[in-house]
Amino acid sequence: MRRSPLRGRIVATYLFKRILQAIFVVIVITLFVSYAVRLTGDPAVMMFAGGGGSMSEADLERVRAALGTDKPFYLQYFEFLKGLVTFDLGRSFAGGAPVSGLIAAAAPSTLKLAFVSMLVSIVMSIPLGIWAAVSRGKAADQMIRIFSLVGVSFPNFWLATMLVLLFSIALGLLPPSGMGSFESYIMPTLTMGIILTATNVRLVRTAMLETLQSQYVMVARAKGLSESKVLYKHALRNCAIPLITYFGLQFGGMLGGLVVIEKVFSWPGLGTLAFDAVNARDYPVLQAVITVLALLIVAVNLIVDIAYGLVDPRIRLE
């Protein structure tokens, strides 16, 4: 393809818009979260709450001054925004570790979990969905539909516990929790993957059914192409757009589900970090985690946009 100056400008405008959008999202979300979390408790009290003893107003003021929570909200929030720009997110209220270090340690764990789960779900749902579409109304389709229904109905923590009971306690094959070896990834990603697959499989089936009725599939079949070529090369590519959109949207929802999965499997990711931060009212950590999650979702949307172009040349940055 010929590269024109016009195209460069389109790309630049597009990226600029995306960056503005990201900034807007981060400000709106963090402003809301920071304000709301301050309405429901006091980190200084939480520090004493382990069961220490006497806790007078003077003690609390001393600790609040050290934490900086005695300042008005807008100043605290401004400090946080300044920290975002200067890449200094401050220190955790709980223990004083630099927030950037905590995020840097936790983010990769969550990303690995998220992407592997996504991959597991895609690998499972596409063949199953296609199979269901091809054998519409037959036994296979019914079985897959039941699997999907059951899968959607599973609460993720219950499924996780059942997997642990089976693979760790009864069979002794996999470690019940923790992140480390290859084996430790199997159950968390399988839990997440099965639940995602349950919805994805229906989507793939529906999209595929529509495509299979179109004329070019008939033509492809008439040409005498093998069935797998028809399905995976011609049909799948044409129903890819709704699938990509949906997988992208799902990613955001999945990050929420990962909080539970991380907790059940003692996975040291952003979910665990956020969970502990909420419990301790650790504002700096909470604000940082929320920011990272918001940026992640913006980034995934960007990837989805790019993926459209890759799959369908007609919608390349028009």
Binding site: G50, I169, G178
Partner: protein, 510 residues
């Protein structure tokens, strides 16, 4: 009972071993023990935290001047002996000699002074621990191994406090060099040395062969942070964790552990007490008769037996039976629904009067107990509702700001096992845990016992406080729950600590 059985077993084993192979048991044995604790304290600096999870680990890294073992007795730690001077306003400690910190620094009077200057100075002001030690005016060095603690006023609980949390002795040079980094690289004089810390994952320790109390009998000690009870129990069942430290295992999970042949449950009375306290400022619970009626409507013995599976004991005042100031003679109001109805009628409370009970939403036992209490209260004609709050919201907003319903759950750890520590925080005017009460008589009683150095006299006042609170019916006292440990049978010589501060230098593993 389990403890006793273990003790006898351990004794028998020791005798058997002694007879057969006394000479072959090495002082320093190989072996790794992995323990799960419910939380990552995030900082290992003694002055930063009040978390039980911190203490469960750090007891093995640091020592205090005094030490309180599982039997709850205060014994010498880094101080070999002490004496009270100036009517209790000065305590002189003789320090243990030839003790080194893990980094090689020598333990001496200098280190003690540094530790407390730091705790009471700017560094300590940022954390919660300092408020426990404000009776200390200064620490004076008499000679390299003698220090004097000069006190503002006699503090009868000080020796206990010196065994806990903020009073752990830290190495002066190292702390100054490290600054904030000390949080993540702790060094003490304890039985185990710090090896590595991985936030939200684990902390690893190794045996300190030069420990003044004798080298530990295992070589490595790892702690994993696991907050989810079912995960901790699964790890225990899978044999990847040897000890689960409370508060992790809920009562409902005990049968699972007991059902596994390689595991056992060890449970001892702990410091944790639960009560439903009354809002004495607004609503029907401002009336003493109503409060008494509510207490009389609830059959606590049945709750302990049926819901808590005997893993708790009834309380009459807000403290465990191990606590100093506990009065075994004190009689609570009896379970008497008919009497309760009469009192409510006298108070002019109409049938079906509403009553809100605030509880912690993540407290599984309390959620069940509260349901039962609701039905007891319905039986005497009240109409209670349960309002579960996220725990942090309840304890850091609803209670201190005085926004509770008629009754609210108070859970209390009371690690000092001294009623003063609890009662002062609960009932003294102006304390954050006391949003409603301001009773000059109670304030006077609470203040009067603090400077008393005569144990008997102080105990008398503490008992008086307990009786006063019971007479005023300031709370519906519920129960003292056990500290429940899950332990793998490969661990030998395990002695459960009521306060979760498990020192593991004596245990061995197969």
């Amino acid at each position: 009972m389990k403890i006793i059985r273990r003790g006898i077993l351990a004794g028998l084993t020791a005798v058997a071993l002694g007879g057969v192979s006394f000479a072959t048991v090495p002082a320093y044995a190989e072996g790794t023990v992995t323990v799960s604790v419910p939380q990552d304290p995030a900082s290992w600096d003694p002055i930063d935290t009040f978390l039980v999870a911190w203490a469960a680990v750090a007891t093995n890294i640091y020592d205090g001047l005094t030490y309180r073992g599982p039997d709850m007795e205060i014994v010498p730690g880094l101080a070999e002996s002490w004496e009270e001077l100036d009517d209790g306003k000065r305590i002189r400690f003789k320090l243990r000699q030839n003790v080194k910190f893990h980094n090689g620094e020598e333990f001496n009077a200098e280190a003690v002074k540094f530790t407390f200057d730091r705790l009471l100075g700017d560094e300590g002001a940022k954390g919660p621990q300092r408020s426990n030690y404000t009776s200390i005016e200064s620490v004076e060095i008499i000679d390299p191994f003698t220090v004097d603690f000069k006190l503002n006023a006699p503090d009868p609980v000080l020796l206990t406090k010196l065994a806990g949390y903020g009073a752990m002795i830290v190495p002066p040079k190292y702390v100054q060099e490290q600054g904030e980094a000390f949080n993540l690289n702790p060094v003490g004089t304890g039985a185990f040395k710090f090896v590595s810390y991985n936030p939200k994952v684990d902390i690893k320790l190794e045996a300190n062969p030069d420990y003044w109390g004798g080298a530990p009998k295992i070589s490595e000690l790892n702690y994993r942070f696991i907050s989810e009870p079912s995960t901790a129990v699964a790890e225990l069942q899978a044999g990847r964790i040897d000890i689960v430290v409370p508060p992790t295992i809920p009562i409902a999970m005990i049968p699972v552990i007991e059902g596994a042949s390689n595991l056992e449950v060890v449970s001892v009375p702990g410091p944790t007490v639960d009560a439903l306290r009354f809002n004495t400022r607004d609503g029907i619970t401002t009336d003493l008769k109503v409060r008494q009626a509510i207490i009389m409507s609830v059959d606590r013995a049945t709750i302990v037996e049926a819901i808590l599976a005997g893993q708790a004991s009834e309380i009459v005042s807000f403290q465990s039976a191990l606590s100093f100031g506990h009065d075994p003679e004190l009689q609570g109001l009896p379970y008497d629904p008919e009497g309760a109805k009469k009192l409510l009628a006298e108070a002019g409370i109409p049938q079906g009067a509403p009553l809100q009970i605030d509880i912690r939403s993540n407290d599984a036992s309390m959620n069940e107990v509260a349901q039962v209490i609701v039905s007891y209260l319905q039986a005497v004609g009240l109409n209670p509702t349960i309002k579960p709050y996220e725990t942090s919201t309840l304890i850091s907003d609803i209670i201190p700001q005085g926004k509770t319903g008629a009754m609210f759950q108070q859970k209390w750890g009371g690690w000092t096992f001294d009623y003063d520590n609890t009662a002062y925080a609960m009932y003294h005017t102006g304390e954050q845990w006391n949003p409603y009460g301001n009773d000059p008589e109670l304030d006077r009683l609470l203040e009067s016992q603090r400077p008393l150095t005569d144990r008997n006299e102080r105990e008398k006042v503490l008992k008086e406080i307990g009786k006063y609170v019971a007479d005023q019916a300031l709370e519906l006292p519920l129960y003292n729950t056990n500290a429940i440990y899950g332990v793998s049978k490969r661990v030998k010589n395990f002695v459960a600590a009521p306060d979760n501060r498990l020192k593991l230098n004596e245990i061995t593993v197969e």
